[in-house]
Symmetry: C2
Subunit: 149 residues, 2 copies
DNA sequence: ATCGATGCAAAAGTTTTGCATATAC
DNA sequence: GTATATGCAAAACTTTTGCATCGAT
């Protein structure tokens, strides 16, 4: 999905709800889209503060729009152990996360065997499975080469 | 593991580190042990405030000891989506969590097929797997019977 | 012109820290 | 007696909210 396609989606969502398409909304969504890493609220705000000297975005607006974007399904959040919520664009391809505990690198993956097992587990315990999160924590190749105390 | 065995473990850990065995440490650990549900810091503090009218435990002491107990491996914490860290006694039986999104009920489970797949995934991406969390969110049997708007 | 969105600052909620005192050893 | 642990209050950090104003429609 291109950046423009994403903004078009936002425009549709906003119109459907009879809300307004603002520069700030677009900037926040664009910041998430253009980041190689999963940013948290404060990091998004900082990026905007640096890149948009002229047109400042308040931290409250960032929080309000992150809630909004998550509600609409345009973005997803992940809560890793010991860190704040981080945000990613919802590409509607479900995936789980493999995280390097040293450098924070995140690899997205999906495994159908695990997805199937999860359904079986839920069924066994009489739960209707609605969603799940799976986070694998480890040491990536690059970080394994660095000596640590 | 009985409550007494748990306190004995705490005594050993404390002695090893040349630290002190205090009533507060025991009370906090005991509160986690005796709770049927996974409590967060504030809930632990509240329980102690109610049950120990005579011998009050400060919230700072709760936080300091939760960190300490986690460091020593006596307790584990879980970070569920949209909620504060919750604590459980470390029974050294690794497990994952199935959570009811309505009532908060938590079922612990372990599935060897998934554990194996996780290793394979990490290897494929050149990660050394160190730990993981898996949280399945759903609706438990009891809650499925309640009409919701 | 209207009503939602924004920025600011204040408030709320959660966790950490400094310091004097208490207490385990 | 000594050093760690505690309680309290203050501070730090993260997120939410109230309100006047701005701006999209």
């Amino acid at each position: 999905m291109s950046e423009k396609e994403l903004y078009d989606k936002l425009k549709i969502v906003v119109k459907e709800k009879a809300l307004k398409y603002t520069k700030q909304r677009e900037l926040i969504l664009g910041t998430i889209y253009n980041s190689k890493i999963h940013l948290n609220a404060e990091q998004i705000h900082k990026k905007l503060t640096i890149s948009n000297k002229d047109d400042q975005v308040g931290i409250a607006t960032v929080y309000r729009n992150l809630l909004f974007l998550e509600e609409t399904g345009l973005v997803l959040s992940i809560s890793l152990d010991n860190s704040l919520k981080r945000y990613e664009i919802n590409r509607h391809k479900h995936h789980d996360h493999l995280v390097c505990i040293h450098c924070g690198k995140i690899v997205e993956f999906i495994n159908q065997n695990i997805e199937k097992e999860q359904e079986i587990i839920a069924k066994k315990h009489n739960f209707k499975l609605l969603s799940h999160t799976m986070h694998l924590y480890g040491e990536c190749k690059a970080c394994s080469k660095i000596d640590r105390v």
